[in-house]
Subunit: 221 residues, 2 copies
DNA sequence: TGTACATCAGTGAACGCGCGTTCACTGATGTAC
DNA sequence: TGTACATCAGTGAACGCGCGTTCACTGATGTAC
């Protein structure tokens, strides 16, 4: 037992250092992206900031893209944490949905570049994102599905998933165009209240008897 | 009079040819983008497709970016045409809004890459897009404002503009995430009906007496 | 524990290449008389 | 109308440079006995 532990520790020293390097690189890349955006990211700069040689980057990641993927993974997890916290601060499913939308806006505003990297980073040609990364997206969706299920108890799992995605996409669009200023945007200071009203309107739409989601959705299954 | 006309024609021959070249380049660039996306665009290829030398491109545009701007301008104008036509095919403001959203989805689906270029193209560093291009965006917004004004007659100009932008942003988000498959998307075949339901829900939200837009919006003015 | 050997992380200069942009040249278009 | 000269569009080879990635080398960590 003792022997095994020692061997493990000693043998692990290499893997341990590698892990430290990995973290340092992800952190450095994150800072660079925060400051200059995804487009301002250079392998050389990351290595320099992380305090290692350029080549080291490639002993730990196969690619710059792989490194970015890890940065995005971190971002997603941070986003998940604040969203969950926001949801916990209120009770009714209506308030939770509003809180989630506003927290998303807040996160995007305060972490512009690193948030934008989530969407700007395109996987090159071949197969898409690895499953572990897709799974992280799903966790976020889950946070929306929960209040939605309380709000619309007649929907099944699949219908809820679809509504969560639609809702997220709509909010993302508003936040994205609002911050980016692409096309003509809504003044920043109005965004939050507009977003809140927007969510409330959709909730009213969900609840209106003439427009029940379960009636409609079944068309598609 | 006759003399002037002749002089004009002859003198105009240079400018005329230049214009032909300009159009050819924009067209060629458009095709390239359609096929390979904005990321697959190369100055050499465009010139080749347009049947001119590489250098010619720079006698007509200062930049690749300027050329792309013109392609986007074309796209915007095409989009405007189909949206307007779609709006004319129905009567009630509700139906117009639904039709506009669905036409937007259709346009994006059928012109993926060239549509994506509208949003993917980032102006380098310095000052933003030229005003003539911004004006083109406004025309699109105008198309949304009109039915919205009929639906919500108590809103003033400014409030309508904000609502139009929010609505556009939300629809864009749904279409964008739906098509791009970024994050986990809604199955394509469901998108249209989901989008329709979505718009209907928002309209219900607008009309619900407990959630009047004019009551809310005035907070911000 | 100590010594000899093996492995592999870490290095950073050099490679390679893609690609936007320029520039000296030519030939067509325009002007003057 | 015709001729001599001027202008400027059009050309494409060459420039330049940014930057991801590699690779021969070194030194630290790990293994065997």
């Amino acid at each position: 037992m003792f022997k095994i532990k020692v061997v493990k520790t000693v043998t692990g020293k290499r893997e341990e250092k590698k892990e430290v390097l990995r973290q340092a690189l992800v952190k450095a890349a994150g800072h660079r992206i925060s400051k200059l955006g995804l487009g301002g990211l250079r392998a050389r700069d990351i290595a320099k900031d992380a305090g290692c040689a350029l080549g080291s980057l490639y002993t730990v990641f196969t690619d710059i893209d792989e490194l970015i993927l890890h940065v995005n993974s971190n971002t997603l997890s941070k986003l998940g944490v604040v969203m969950e916290a926001a949801a916990r601060r209120v009770d009714s499913p209506q308030d939770v949905l509003v809180a989630l939308a506003n927290e998303y806006l807040k996160f995007a505003t305060e972490n512009r570049n690193i948030w934008a990297a989530l969407f700007d980073h395109r996987i090159p040609e071949g197969a898409g994102e690895p499953e572990w990364h897709v799974a992280e997206h799903l966790v976020l969706m889950r946070g929306i599905t929960i209040p939605l299920a309380r709000l619309l108890p007649t929907l099944n799992e699949n219908q809820l998933a679809v509504q969560a995605r639609i809702l997220f996409a709509a909010v993302h669009g508003i936040v994205s165009i609002g911050l980016h200023g692409h096309f003509v945007a809504v003044p920043r200071r109005d965004l939050e209240s507009q977003l809140t009203q927007f969510i409330k309107r959709i909730i009213v739409g969900y609840q209106s008897s003439s427009n029940k989601v379960d009636n409609i959705d079944l068309e598609n299954e």
